[in-house]
């Protein structure tokens, strides 16, 4: 009995120690804003935003944050949005990133880019991700443990400016393939079983936090085809979720694969992202009642950032013309 009590006490103290260190690191990470690099950046960045200021969260893998530009959305409709996707995001990360964001934000809409729904890294990786992500969530020391290095090395901020999760990528590497990559078929690509179970969690999270969930497929000939379209459409229907596949609307959006692709049809570049954002802005104002925060008290930062953003965009455009 004595040993049992001792065991419990040992782990209790350990949990408290980890909790304390985690708390400190979480605070430090939020304070560093752009200083955090790598996969944890999105977690730290969304945590650093002022409380309850974001109305739209865009989540998913790299397709998500290369397609939606929060500054454009702000300028056009005064909607406050944030890109919190990660490169190659796994569905477990999607789930816990959302959970993390809901801690400080109460968005009205969550836009989930659907490419992450088809990622299947295999049983073992899935298993370990399903263990690691909760551990990182409850004990952020596991996520931010490398912070101590920045004390020794100085801030490793690379000087990249990030605009609410969006980075300016203006390189152009055209997509040379067929415009008709969405060729109609009845085939359906299977969504992996574990993704479906995590989707349940994501849906529940949104429901509990009074946020609507919108599935969105960003234009990408490299990643999308009709089989995936069918799969998400079927899933959306069965789960009563709205779904918008931008790959079906490239003409309406006005995507020109010669000028709007960043890397041969995998990701969009700045031009492509701004076109998509403009289109989505129309879609959002039409279907959702999202408040216009322009000119409101407490949102001056957005105006300042937006000035910076468009100055940078103009600079790049003139550079490109030269």
């Amino acid at each position: 009995m004595k040993t049992k009590k001792r065991c419990i006490l040992f782990f209790l103290i350990l949990a408290m120690l980890l909790g304390a260190i985690s708390f400190g690191m979480q605070r430090a990470a939020a304070g560093m804003k752009g200083g955090i690099t790598g996969r944890s950046r999105s977690f730290a960045a969304v945590g650093a935003e002022p409380r309850d200021t974001l109305d739209v969260l865009v989540i998913g893998d790299s397709e998500s944050y290369t397609s939606m530009s929060p500054m454009d959305l702000w300028k056009q409709a005064g909607i406050t949005s944030f890109d919190c996707g990660q490169p190659g995001q796994r569905i477990q990360e999607t789930c816990f990133l959302l959970k993390e964001a809901f801690k400080t934000q109460s968005p009205k809409l969550v836009i989930l880019e659907t490419n992450a729904m088809f990622r299947d890294p295999g049983f073992l990786t899935n298993l370990s991700m399903s263990i690691i992500e909760p551990v990182r969530y409850y004990f952020p020391v596991f996520r931010y443990h490398n912070l101590w290095r920045q004390i020794l090395d100085g801030n490793t901020n690379t000087g990249r400016s990030v605009f609410k999760g969006f980075e300016i990528r203006d390189k152009v590497v055209p997509y040379e393939g067929s415009d008709l990559y969405m060729k109609e078929t009845k085939d359906i690509q299977q969504i992996p079983e574990f993704v479906l179970s995590y989707m349940e969690n994501i849906k529940k999270l949104c429901r509990d936090n009074d946020a609507e969930l919108l599935l969105m497929s960003a234009p990408s000939p490299h990643n999308y085809n009709y089989k995936k379209h069918n799969a998400v459409e079927k899933y959306a229907e069965e789960n009563d979720l709205p779904y918008i596949d931008l790959n079906m609307k490239t003409q309406e959006i006005g995507i020109d694969w010669k000028t709007d692709s960043y890397d041969k049809g995998d990701h969009l570049n700045l031009r492509g992202a701004r076109k998509v954002t403009a289109y989505m802005c129309g879609y959002l104002t039409e279907n959702y009642s999202l408040p216009d925060h322009r000119g409101e008290e407490g949102y001056q930062e957005w105006d300042n950032l937006s000035v910076q953003f468009f100055a940078e965009v103009d600079r790049r455009n003139t550079n490109a013309k030269k």
Binding site: I21, S128, N146, L152
Partner: protein, 529 residues
């Protein structure tokens, strides 16, 4: 799933422990065996068939040899004198043939998978040189994980039965577990049957103290592997993969860094492996004993990868040195050539196969063969100069056990080790030679502190972590060298002290280990051999 992964430490092991705990009487061994096969399957999939085949073969050969032994005893009981000797000799011969058959099959499989391409490549070169119209195609052969390790264990087991050191194992389950205990699968230690049989098959119930000790050892292994070895992997790969771009101090540092990386990684994994065994009350043989305290190359090999050295000594060195040829040479030499020359000749004859095999065991590459011969030459040289050295030492009144002399010897051994590992890691023998030569060109000691080393992919913080980790490991090693068991001492200390030490170890691993943002996973080096 490798031993340093979260999946292994935090999921696989606890699951195994739970299954072991709740297994009904007589099923505990089966739980361990199943865990071994699951582990193997996750790494090598269908190649599990090789391990199963080996197990079956070894088991049958063992029983066959045992049967021959008992037949021999029965047959020899009734007869006396020279007839008895003849009967025995006949059975001995038969046993030897059975052993040879078993060994040949196992080594044949290993040779086929591991050395065929090397052979084909070099043979094709020879054929081409003679303008012969044959070529040997290189094949894409995939080795099952740990084949180099379990094959040696299997051969050792058969030889031990043949020699009568152990009785043939009658339970297939036990033979199978001996070859497939999951902590050992990837990189040993290469156990002898007598090393592990008593605890491996005991089916002891779980004990809290075992689990505590096991996990402390595992954490200590993670400390070495994740804090030091994985960080060093970056600059080491950078220099060795682009060796023509570096010279002088940087190359020398890379050789030292690789040696440290290799030690921290291999001995760290051994801590995890042996710790994993301890969880179940199973004692696996140690593989390291403070190798950097060795006074010469021979001693280094009695402290580094010990189980491999013991295996070669038992199954190659002794049999060769007791073989007819060596014995004849001994007789002839002692009569005509004097003791010194005879001993040197005997040593050379017995050591050459050992070191050739040692080199080749690591893989089919000329640089590994060179690595083996390098140690062969050094050890033989050590034997050759010993009489002269002793005379000089007495003449100069230097006491062998004086501190200064020991320091000098240890430093000399370090240089030997670093040079050896340089050739070992280099991408081929020629690259090794190039790197070795380039150390002496453009040697600017200033590069050690003028920031050149920071260009090798490590931040200041990483270098600090490596140095701090090395200091902790070196201190622990020095204390162990004095014969103190730190873990035991700690266990006897007062509770607050003990717990603080445990928390410090746990937190050090969690915070300072090289994982997460900015780090890549580093594969186990020895699992590749």
């Amino acid at each position: 799933m490798s031993y340093d992964s979260l999946l292994y430490v935090a999921l696989f092991l606890p699951l195994c422990l739970a299954a072991y705990r709740f297994a009904p009487e007589g099923w505990r061994r089966r739980v361990l065996l199943a865990a071994g096969y699951v582990f193997f399957w996750m790494l090598s999939g269908k190649l599990l068939i090789y391990l199963l085949g080996t197990t079956l073969l070894v088991h049958c050969v063992g029983i066959w040899l045992g049967w021959l032994k008992s037949e021999e005893k029965a047959a020899a009981a009734g007869v006396r004198g020279s007839e008895r000797k003849a009967v025995k000799a006949a059975y001995q011969k038969q046993s030897r043939q059975v052993l040879m058959l078993g060994t040949a099959i196992l080594l044949g499989i290993l040779a086929w998978l591991k050395y065929y391409n090397f052979f084909a490549e070099n043979m094709s070169g020879v054929l081409e040189a003679f303008h012969l119209p044959f070529t040997l195609e290189e094949k894409s052969l995939i080795m099952p994980v740990g084949i180099s390790f379990y094959t040696l264990q299997a051969v050792g087991y058969m030889a031990d039965v043949y020699w009568g050191k152990i009785k043939a194992e009658t339970s297939l389950e036990k033979t199978a577990l001996f070859l497939a205990f999951f902590p050992q699968i990837m990189e040993g230690p290469i156990s002898r049957y007598t090393d592990v049989a008593d605890t491996l098959f005991a089916e002891k119930p779980l004990e809290l103290s075992n689990i505590q000790n096991g996990y402390i050892r595992i954490l200590w292994g993670l400390f070495k592997k994740k804090i030091v070895a994985d960080r060093l992997a970056v600059p080491v790969a950078m220099v060795f993969d682009h060796y023509t771009s570096y010279s002088g101090v940087v190359t020398a540092v890379a050789a030292v860094a690789y040696t440290v990386q290799l030690y921290m990684e291999f001995s760290g994994c051994m801590d995890i492996i042996i710790g994993s065994g301890e969880l179940f009350g199973i004692r696996l043989p140690e593989n390291f004993r403070q190798p950097f305290c060795a006074k010469n190359a021979a001693e280094f090999w009695r402290r580094w990868h010990i189980t491999l050295g013991v295996w070669f000594k038992t199954y190659i060195f002794y049999p060769v040195s007791m073989s007819g040829i060596v014995k004849k040479w001994n007789q002839y030499g002692r009569k005509r050539l004097g003791r010194y020359v005879t001993m040197l000749g005997t040593s050379a004859m017995a050591l050459l196969p050992v070191w050739l095999c040692n080199g080749l065991w690591h893989g089919a590459r000329w640089s590994y063969i060179f690595y083996g011969l390098y140690y062969f030459t050094l050890i033989l040289l050590g034997i050759a100069v010993q009489p002269a050295r002793d005379r000089i030492l007495t003449a100069c009144r230097i006491r062998e056990d004086s501190r200064v002399w020991r320091r000098i010897q240890i430093t000399k051994t370090w240089v030997i080790i670093f040079v050896g590992e340089l050739f070992f890691r280099a991408d081929g023998f020629r690259a090794g030679l190039y790197m070795f030569r380039s150390i002496f060109e453009d040697f600017r000691i200033r590069q050690l502190w003028d920031g050149t080393l920071l260009g090798l992919g490590l931040q200041k913080s990483d270098i600090a972590a490596v140095i701090a980790g090395c200091i902790v490991a070196a201190l622990a090693g020095m204390i162990k060298e004095r014969g103190v068991n730190i873990r035991e001492r700690l266990g006897e200390s007062r509770l607050p002290v003990r717990w603080c030490a445990y928390y410090a170890l746990i937190l050090a691993v969690i915070i300072f280990a090289a994982y997460g943002d900015g780090y890549q996973k580093v594969d186990l080096i020895y699992a590749g051999f």
